[in-house]
Amino acid sequence: MSSCLASVLQGKKLNELKKEMRKFSLERNICGDGKATERVIKFIENTAKKTGKIELKTK
């Protein structure tokens, strides 16, 4: 761990690492555009729209 931390702190291979990281997040298909909250709100609105009048009757 010591040598690993030393190399990271010296910035060695940092660009290479950054490339790997970008690739990693793309591979995982993360919606990394900062608009997730917007999408979740839209999803909530659409789901709530379909709900209609709540009568709270048990199944």
């Binding site: 993360i30 919606c31 709100i41 709530a48």
Partner: protein, 535 residues
């Protein structure tokens, strides 16, 4: 020369062991100390002893085999007797499902410990096993003693065991934390739009970024934070005391039900691991459930039911449908046909779970739908039996701030008082299946000591208590502090390196393009490949 194997699961046992060592241990005696996860982080002053955990005596094949037993026991722990299963069904909600997380941790830690203990006895071949009389470690030793032909067991008297708090929500710490949260939520509510027609219930507990606030500001919904409901009840003594008026009766009922369950054939035949009966080991949990958890669950079911009747929500949004409070909300929503959405709050991993169809905190899904961070996560859920139509890919509201904000790392470091030193962040994960977080922090502190130009911030997981980490930091000879409640993204952005074992924090650091060091206890055992991947 006598060879001892000391088996401990609490601070009290360690203290008793230290006294024993001081008074009775001869110079040429040898002592191996095997620590149960419940005693992780406790320090033992035993010169010449070797500290071990069950992982030191387990190989990967055994770990995989134990997982199979864990998945057999966890979802079925209350199902081994039909009468018992029926007796803990309350208002259509199966109370046995609610402490799923706690039961999971219990079996994961104890099954590994039992196998590790058996292996340790075989490998070390001690003359004497030392352990506590009424402790989890002691029960484990008793469970395996006959099969492993332990020569002599010597029990420590530990005095009165831990009792459960009478009012768990009214401890000084909880009340103080609750008041702070309540004042924040109330100030947000003060800005809520009026004239809203539909009510959305939301339980975010800080895991969903600005979702709650934006939902309130940008839509016509009346957004009702369930956290507020919970907090109001927790800090108002009149309301908080109410369930306890009925508590004695409920405790009696559950204690009777659990006692009958323990005697049932189904329980005795199924609570078996490695050929030994483990029901006695489970006794402590059952006692906790009967005296503390189940009466509280009943009270929560009643209160949430009444809340649904009163507010008539059109939708329920939760950060997880796995923990008791949120699960009760989701099950109540189902009962009243109110749709529910669970939003992914962290990373979920591990191909090992594929066969089990079980991902702790994520699957099986109880809510109607779930919103996930990306297609890869959708695939993992589908692989674990969640129908694709119930999964929507949205991205993570929590991670939005990484892309939308301007960071000032130097200013942040000044605020922390670390000046120009290089910031190293170490994030812990108590739920990790292959790691002792205290041992990990200790190792990191030892390494950072060699880098005087560095400042270490230990960032415990939000559910952890910080005391043990603070003790470790105080003892260490380096620049370090423990910060649990902080602006995580600002902290990570200012870091020169981020060290994790198994944590979403590592993922967030990667998105911030910070170098991440993943500590792997044993590459072969944990399955890590050494390449960047989902942890």
């Amino acid at each position: 020369m006598t060879k001892y194997l000391a088996v401990v699961s609490s601070k009290a046992e360690i203290t008793a062991l230290e006294e024993f060592a001081e008074q009775k241990l001869a110079k040429d005696d040898a002592i191996v100390l095997l620590s149960h996860p419940y005693a992780y982080g406790e320090q033992a002053r035993l010169p010449g002893s070797v500290l071990k955990t069950s992982f030191d005596y387990l190989n990967r094949e055994e770990l995989v085999e134990i997982e199979g037993e864990r998945f057999r026991l966890v979802p079925n722990w209350y199902k081994f007797d039909k009468e018992f299963e029926k007796s803990i069904l309350y208002k259509g909600i199966q109370l046995g499902e609610l402490p799923f997380g706690e039961v999971d941790v219990f079996f994961r830690e104890n099954l590994r410990f039992l196998r590790g203990l058996s292996n340790a006895i075989r490998k070390e071949n001690p003359d004497v096993v030392l352990t506590g009389k009424n402790s989890v470690a002691g029960s484990s030793v008793r469970a395996v003693a006959e099969k492993q032909q332990v020569k002599i067991i010597r029990y420590f008297e530990l005095g009165k065991q831990r009792t459960f708090p009478l009012f768990p929500n009214l401890t000084t710490r909880k009340v103080s934390e609750s008041k702070k949260k309540l004042s924040r939520i109330l100030s947000e509510l003060g800005r809520a739009k009026r004239g809203s027609k539909k009510t959305v219930f939301i339980a975010s507990r800080g895991y969903l970024g600005n979702l709650e606030q934006e939902l309130r500001e940008k839509t016509g919904f009346n957004v009702f934070p369930l956290e507020l409901f919970l907090l109001r009840q927790s800090i108002n003594p009149l309301v908080a005391v109410k369930p306890f008026l009925n508590k004695k009766k409920l405790q009696g009922l559950f204690a009777d039900a659990f006692n009958k369950y323990k005697q049932s054939t189904g329980f005795r035949e199924n609570m078996v691991f490695d050929g030994v009966f483990i029901g006695d080991l489970f006794e402590f949990k059952l006692q906790q459930f009967a005296l503390l958890n189940f009466p509280e669950f009943v009270s929560l079911v009643d209160r949430i039911d009444a809340l649904f009747q009163k507010k008539k929500p059109c939708l329920l949004v939760v950060w997880s449908d796995f923990v008791p409070f949120e699960k009760i909300c989701v099950l109540t929503a189902k009962k009243y046909r109110v749709p529910s959405i669970a939003i992914q709050h962290g990373i979920f991993p591990a191909p090992i779970y594929k066969k089990a169809g079980f991902i702790r905190a994520f699957a099986p899904l109880t809510a109607d739908k779930t919103a996930v961070w990306g297609r890869a996560f959708k695939k993992i859920l589908v692989d674990n039996g969640v129908e694709p139509g119930r999964i929507v890919v949205t991205g993570s509201p929590k991670l939005d701030s990484i892309y939308n904000r301007h960071f000032e790392p130097e200013k942040f470091k000044q605020q922390l008082g670390i000046g120009n030193k290089k910031l190293v962040v170490c994030a812990t994960q108590p739920a990790s299946s292959t790691n002792n977080p205290y041992q990990m922090v200790e190792q990191v502190l030892n390494v950072v000591e060699r880098f005087p130009e560095c400042f270490l911030v230990v960032k415990p997981h939000p559910v952890e208590r910080t005391e043990k980490y603070e003790q470790l930091v105080q003892r260490a000879n380096c620049n370090a502090l423990v910060l649990q409640k902080t602006d995580l993204h600002a902290l990570l952005n200012a870091a020169s390196a981020v060290i994790i074992h198994s944590s979403t924090v590592g993922f967030e650091a990667i998105l911030l393009e910070r170098p991440v060091i993943i500590l792997v206890r044993n590459q072969k055992r944990s399955g890590h490949t050494g390449k960047p991947r989902l942890f």
